[in-house]
Structure formats: C-alpha cells, structure tokens
Symmetry: C3
C-alpha cells in the first residue's frame, strides 16, 4: 500500500504536540490547543483513509466503551458504537433506568464500578443547562481519583457526545467536512460562515450545536456571523470565546438579527433552530421540579414566540444571496424540512434536496472523529501507531 | 484437518454462479436462482462444519451488523447475533423507540446514518400486510443510492429476518435440515411435503412461514400439498409461485381443505397456524388506524372462526396416516402444544415430544444460514474464502 | 515478560484437580471442592496480573455470552460483560420482556434456542425464595440434554450472577480481596470475620450475600460470627453449611443477636441489611400472586420491624471495638450510608468514607472471578492455557 495522502497525514501528526491529550479530556473544543484540534482532525482523516485501504486500526484486543445516553439518539449512538468497534472495543450501555444508580449510588461509585475494564466512556447529556458539562467533569474527576488510587488499571477516555455547552464530535466532524470540501484547512481562511437560527415548530432544541459551531469555526480564519431573532442569544461566555478566536485569527465575528443580511455573500450557511438561553434556563428549572403545567405553559409561550419568526427559513431566495448563489449548506441532522417533516421548518424542501447527499457526507465523519479522540487519549505516539497499522497490514475485511 | 465433506462443499460452491449475490439482496427466496439458493445452503453447511472443526470463519476484523426488530423476537435475534459474531461483526440494535427516527427522519436518511461502518442490516417487519417487504426494498434502494454516491464505504448486506411475504432465513434453515435429515438434496425428489394450517387459540399469526415454505420447498422436486380450512388462503401470488416451481421441477402442487387427506402418505408435515390473508388485510388497516375497538372485534370474530377448526390438530392419529406412520414433523417454533402451552393447539403433546429434539435441530441451522447470506453478499469468491479459512488454521476457541 | 507471582500462580493451578469443572456448574460455592475454589481464585488473580502485563487472555475468537437479568443490575452486568469481552465473547442479553418466552416457550426450548453458538450463560434471579437456584438447575439440565443429543456444539458454562441461595461471583471476589489484602490465603487462618445484619430503610434485600458469605468464608480457617436481630435468620441449611465448614477447618462458627458483641476484636466486618427468611417466603408468595395490597402491608410491617433496629449501624464507635480499632470493612455495594444515600442506614458516613476506596477495590475483582469461572468450565488444562497466553505475547492494547 502506498497512499501519499496518508503518509502526509502521519508525518503532519508527528509534528504536533499531543502529549497532554493523554490526561486532558476533550470535553470542550475551546479548551484544546490548536495542535490538539489539528491532531484529532488529521487522525480522523487518517483512520478514514486506512479504512478505505482496508487496513484495520485496532488498538485494543478487548475492553469496553461505555455509553451513557441521557437523551434519545440514533446517529450519535451509531457513530460511537462504530468508532469503538473500529478500535476493538465493545459498547456496553449504561441504561440508567435498568441500573441501580437511582438507588443510592454516587457518581464516584458508578464511575468506578463501570470502569474496571473500560477504555472509553461516552456521555450525552444536553437536557439541562448548567448540568451536562458539570456531570462529565464530575465523572472525569472521579476517574482520575480511581486511577490514581490504583483502582482502575487504565484511565478511560471521556468522550463528550453532547453537553449543554458544546457538541464537539459534531462540530469536529463538520470541520473535517469543511476541510475536505474546500480542499484543505488553508482554504477556509477568509471564508464567510453563517451560523443562523432557523424556525422550527418544536422548541427546546439544545444550544450546544450553535455554541460549539461558533466556538470552533472561529479558529480557522473564517469570518463568522451569528444570526438570530432578538432574544435568541446563546450563553454569553460562548459568544465571547468565538469573538476572541476570530480576532486572534485576524477574522471578523459579527452578529445580526437579520437572516437575509447574514446570508449576503456567505460561503457557508448553517441554519438551525435553537431555544433562547433564557428559555433553556427556565425550562431546566421546570424540568428539575417536574413542573408539567409550567413546562406546558413555557412551551406554549415559546412556540408563540417562535411563530413570529417563521420567515427565518433557509429558502431558495435566501440561498441566492450567498456567494455565487451556491454557499455550502450545513446541518447536523435531522433537519426540519418545510412540507416534508413539518408544515413549516428550518429549510425549504428544494434547498435541502439539493444538499441532502452533502449533509450525509458531513455526518459520515463523526465515527472517525470519535475514534480519533479515543486513540489520542490513549496513545502517546499517534503517528507511530498509525504507521504500525500500515506496517502490520492487518486487513479489516478479508 | 482433512474433512472430505467440507472439501466437497467447497468444490461444489466453486461451480455455482454467485456473482450476482454481491448486488442482489436475498429478500425473497423466489427471486433467487437455483445456484444462489444452493450456494447459501452449501455455504451454511460449510460454516457449520468449520465450526465443528474449530476453525474461525471471520471475514471481518470490525464492522457493525444492525438489527431492526419491529416485532418481538428471541430465536431470530439470537440467530442473527450469532451469525454476525461468527463472521466478526458486532450487532447494534436500532431501537426505534429510543431513536430519533420518529422525529422527522426519512428512511433514506436513517439508512445512511446507521451504515457508515455497517456491513449488514437485518430487519424483521412482519406485522403489516403489504409493508415489510416494501420497507426492506426502500432501505435497499437507499443503501444503493448512498453507496453509489460514495457516502458509504461499502454496501451493507440486507438480511430479511421475516417480512409479510417470506421468512427466508427460517425456510432456508428448514431446507438445510431436510437435506441433512434425508441425506442429500437429491433425496428430496418425489417426497410428499404437507404445509398445513393448524388450530391455535391465538390469531393473527403471520403468513410468511407458510408462504415462504411453499415458495421454496416447491423447488426441490417435492410434491407440495397446501392444506387449510376454507377461507384461510395465502396471498394468491405466493401460491402461484409454488405452483410454477412444482411444475418446473416435474412435481405436483395440490390444495386440499382436509388435513386428514393431506397427511395421507406424507413424508414431511409442517402443521402451523396462520391468519387468513383477508383477515391480515383487515387487521393491517385497523392497526394503521389504531382502531382498538375494531381490532378487538376482529379478534373476537377470528377466534370464533378458528374455533370451528379445533380438529385441525397434528394428532397421533393423523400421524398414523403418513408414510410408514413416521413422517418428519417440522415447526418453526414455538409451537402451540395441546395441554402444554395452551388448552388446545397445533399439535398433540406426545407427537411434539417425539419430535422435540428434531425441531430444535431444525432451528439450529438458522445462524449458519444467516452467516452464509452475509458472506455471499460480501465475498466474490466464497469457495476460495472458505478454503482460506482452512489454510489459515485460525482457531475459534483455544 | 517475567512475572514471578504469575509463574507461581500457574504452577499452583497445575497442581489442583480441576477436571470436574468442565461438567459441573459453579452454582453454589459449597458444592465446589477446595481445589475448585482455589482454582477459581488463582485463575482470577492470574488473569488480573496478565492484564496488568498487557497480555490478552482470549480463549475465544467468537461466541456469545448470554445474560439473563431478572433484576436490575449495574455492577454485575458490567462485570459479566467485561469478563466475557476479556475472553473474546460478546454479550447478548435475553430481555424477557422483548422476547417470545412468555408466549409458550418452555425453559428447555429457550435454553436451546439461545445456545447454538453460545459459550456462557449468566443468570441473575434472586427475587423469589426457592426459585433462582431451581431455575438455574433447570437450564443447566436442559443444556446437558441438548449437548448430549448433539443439538449444541458445546455446553455453555453457567454463571450464577446471584440466586436466592448464593451470590458466588460476589463472595469469591470478596475472598480474593481478603487474600490480597491480608497477603495470602494462609493469613486468613484464625481471623475473626463478622457477617452482620445492618439497618436499612428499604426492605426485601436478598439473603444471597450473607448466605454466600458465611458459606464460603467459613472454609479458610476464619472464625465466622453471624450477627442479626431476633427473627432475621437466614435459610437454616445455609447456616448449617457454614457451621460444618468452620468445624472442618478447626474454626468457630458463632451466632449473636448483638452487633456490639459481634464486633468485639473482629478482624473483618461485613455489615449489610437483609430481609428475614420468613419475610422472603411470605413475599415470594405475594409476588407470585401479584398481591399488591398484601405486598404493601408486608412492607409496612417489615419496615416497622426494621425500625426497631436502627441502632444496627456500623458506626465509628462500633469500629473502635474491633481489633486495633481497624477491622477491614467490607460491603458488596451500594451501601446505605447514613446521611448520604438515606437518613439512617447501614453505615456511618465517616466509616464508609474511610473504607470507600477499599470497597471499590473489593468490587474490582468480580470481572476476573467471572472470567476465571468461564475459563475453568471450558478448558481442561487451565495452567497450560495461561502459559500459552504468556508465550503467545498477544497484547491487549497496542
């Protein structure tokens, strides 16, 4: 096998500083250095090329990858299972309803009990503002303690499968998609990317996608525009992060309350619904108190509020305003498609149809991103490990 | 290792035309050529012999086998998991209740999202007349599209784990059982096989087993008799298929409304309950409309209709009418056994007891049939792959 | 690799008589010979050391490990999955709610249907007095029959993941913990071990832990004290077993109705709640009859009875009575910790905190115990298999 692209990636990875990734969890993209971000992107791409070359990248002969899904999930679940399986791990789901956790086990205890032969723990917890990330940190700290006391033979890699602040496996996959679509990370420089709110007939969609998006896309020299109706703010800290990254990379971060203005001359558009931060805070309180009447009331209020902005739809007309009328449309899926999945939604059917395949390709990177995150958290010399795969010639399928 | 039976099978497989199996799904047995049917049967038997020789037939080093069960299942689930595991795949269940599919994802989108690192998709969908097979075709087409657009690195093999028309993994396993029981496929020629309705206190049992049975057993030169009370017809097209296969193989296809006449001189009897086609059509409409009252009414009506035929039971007396009083009794399990699992059922307890072990053996072929279907859908040269297993000497257990 | 401790273990295992373990299930520890008990403990420790040396102990290239959990479980589920995975097996859960078992399948039939490519079956069934063990025996007998009739290519190893009589994977893990904690099995001789009832605000906790504990700890020359309030007896036969083992090993078995007396000069204390045998019998009847009113009544009565013994708490004061005020505290987890998981419970928070890590270590042995049980049930020459792992040098992680 001689794959120049693969050889280049391996050589590039070897020049990155990745040592800290062995002890630092990849929970929020903005806590990672540029080298660490690059290492995940390049390792993911290398794993993808290896699979295309029918080479197995198993780094484990056995071991569990625990999954904890506090929300329903299809795509993320399959991505996580695929990534674990690719590396040689077996997924064991911690179904909190079937477990004894409710019956008096602490987070510390549970973390330890599920980790004796575990190499990775993937968690999705995006329901409550102020909770998902804290829960992950709590588990991470417990694992550190357990490992340092010799209770665990290895420290499992934490994978943030979506929290209240960030959705790093999604946005890293989106980024790899952008890099491949535009033919290299260097080509992202100067592009105009729009993260825009869009109308949806449902409410309460998490903030992690737009927050993660502006928090990461702002690091590659792209001008990032955040567009939403009045009141649909994100958590202020995350907007600040994006602003700082943009200015550090010499790009512009701008806000607008007009979808139409935002789309003007855009290279990339990411129109997606989310709930206002203040609503999510209120909702969190109501959910905690199991206040069903309050939740119903909030939903009614929010849907009414949303309905003032049904024109925040990614239409053909809006797309015409973008650069050469052909901006790249992105979505984390599933999208609310007008006339298809709902009466009125985030995107016009003909627009989505034109970009359908390309959004599927966008999604296809996620398993490799997750696998890369695990590999980098467990291997000191990722480039030599990748080279080892090539040398061993172990096939993935006969 | 020198296993002449295994060597013979490998050599026979090499002479069969199996190329089309790489792109044609095995959804309905009657859409498969004789060579393709033979290839599955012989490959399944070869995999069974390999296991007995403690040789591993892993063709995958990693990869997912997705399962979608729209009905409860024990045996089929375990058969599918066993087959996947034997070949090196890991099962990931798509639990439609835990997934986001209900929330606006199309079949096309779901098919793609679960398939990025997937090698097989097994589906059981037998509840609604006119739906199971269509659903599988829809997914198959989506996978073709995704693969041709380069969104999927490989086209997953589809496995029909039971639809509204056919139950090919069951009936292929039944066929391999018949071949081994009678000492060769050539010995099936001229045998009289009876697919007979039998009384059950439940109603609404799928038609796929009797339809699949007459649609496949009719291809081996056996005289096939379909017996049922007036009104308990199968889907007419499937009866026509069986009739045509019989006449093509110079055998007879006959119908009778007397279980006793049917058993006369039979070599093989397969007495099993099913619902009349017309009832299944009506039931499908009611289920679609969630018409609980209508369903209850239909159930009452059908049970009353069934109760006119409680004498359609496979008794010792009836068995005495068969060839030498010792026809082979078959069942896909679980059977409704009179006095055991119900007051009055499909089969007399002493008959079932005598054939209990042999029905378990009948069931034991299913994992190998499924594994063979996957292997043939993914490997261009099945015989050389099987030879490779032998040469590599990779053990299955230490 | 040169690990003297590992070499010693392998040599010790080779001198034990383990042949009968191939056909005799490890369902109740007291039915196992001393050599068999020793073989499990030493093999488990060897597997643990192998993992620390990064050597893979896969004895299977494929195969299923079926799990049947009739009660919720976190720790045991993860231990079982980890053990299966370590040896090369994939867990397939038999979810009785999702299966067709309720619909007329016999235990014999189910056992066979799930076992065609299965190497181990782990069962947790501790809800009903007089049932869990019988159910396991019934399955074991069915598997024997299926195997002897050639329906199964191998006889799956049964793993008792907790029944109404014993909890052998727990207590064997506890024992290995004791051995390592005190620096060798020979150091257990003469130690005073107290299995004590403790107060809990819940009721109906299974008897299998205390019964299993006295039934096994009594075999190592330890003086075993069973302490509980009046009426909180265990199944009499199991107390008799412990008594006999103690006297056979020249140690003392004693009973007391004072927790304080029991703790006097103790080396090891295991304070844990359980329901009186008579209550469990009554509860079993009520559960069988789905007598919800009766169950509520019984619960009320029992909680009232329990509440007379809230002073049966493992306090700092009580711990001061133990040998050098520093007995080893044990628990199978999760513990009812006063002021943490409940208002008033089995153990004072400061005591539990001091021993928290050590109870986690206690739990960490369970996956290896389960793996050892499976290995010994499937391999005639465990010591040579272990040596083979070392010689092959197959890494567990790259």
């Amino acid at each position: 096998m001689n794959n120049p692209a693969l050889n280049d990636l391996i050589s590039e990875i070897s020049s990155l500083k990745t040592d800290d990734m062995l002890t630092k969890d990849f929970l929020l993209s903005w806590e990672q250095s540029d080298d660490e971000i690059a290492a995940v992107l390049k390792t993911a791409e290398a794993l993808r090329l290896l699979r295309n070359e029918n080479i197995s990248p198993k780094i484990f002969d056995s071991g569990l990858a625990v999954s904890i899904f506090r929300d329903n999930s299809t795509r993320t679940r399959f991505s996580y299972t695929s990534a674990a399986n690719l590396l040689g791990l077996t997924v064991q789901d911690l179904d909190e309803k079937k477990s004894q956790i409710a019956h008096g086990e602490t987070v510390r205890e549970t973390s330890c009990m599920i980790s004796f032969l575990t190499e990775a723990i993937g968690i999705r917890d995006d329901m409550y503002i102020g909770e998902g990330h804290s829960y992950m940190k709590e588990i991470a700290n417990a694992l550190d303690e357990d490992f340092s006391e010799g209770l665990l033979p290895s420290r499992p890699a934490m994978v943030n499968l979506q929290c209240d602040l960030d959705h790093p496996t999604q946005i890293m996959a989106d980024t790899l998609h952008l890099i491949n679509h535009f033919g290299g990370v260097e080509n992202l420089k100067g592009k105009k990317l729009v993260m825009s709110w869009a109308y949806s007939p449902s409410y309460g969609k998490p903030l992690s996608v737009p927050q993660g998006a502006i928090g990461l896309f702002s690091r590659f020299g792209m001008d990032v525009t955040l567009a939403h109706p009045p009141g649909y703010n994100l958590i202020p800290e995350t907007e600040k992060i994006a602003e700082d990254f943009c200015s550090a990379s010499g790009a512009e971060f701008s806000r607008t309350e007009s979808m139409s203005d935002a789309f003007e001359n855009a290279d990339i558009v990411y129109p997606k619904s989310w709930a206002p931060y203040s609503v999510m805070q209120e909702r969190t309180e109501l959910l905690k108190n199991s206040d069903d009447a309050g939740l119903l009331e909030l939903e009614k209020h929010c849907l009414a509020q949303n309905s003032a902005y049904t024109d925040w739809e990614c239409t053909e007309e809006l797309m015409k305003k973008t650069k050469n009328s052909s901006a790249l449309y992105m979505h984390c899926l599933p999208a609310d498609i007008t006339g298809v999945s709902c009466e009125k939604g985030e995107v016009e059917a003909s627009v989505f149809d034109r970009y359908r395949s390309i959004t599927y390709r966008e999604a296809s990177y996620k398993p490799y991103i997750i696998a890369a995150m695990i590999l980098l958290a467990k291997q000191k010399n990722p480039s030599s490990v990748l080279q080892q795969f090539i040398n061993s010639g172990r096939w993935r399928t006969i």
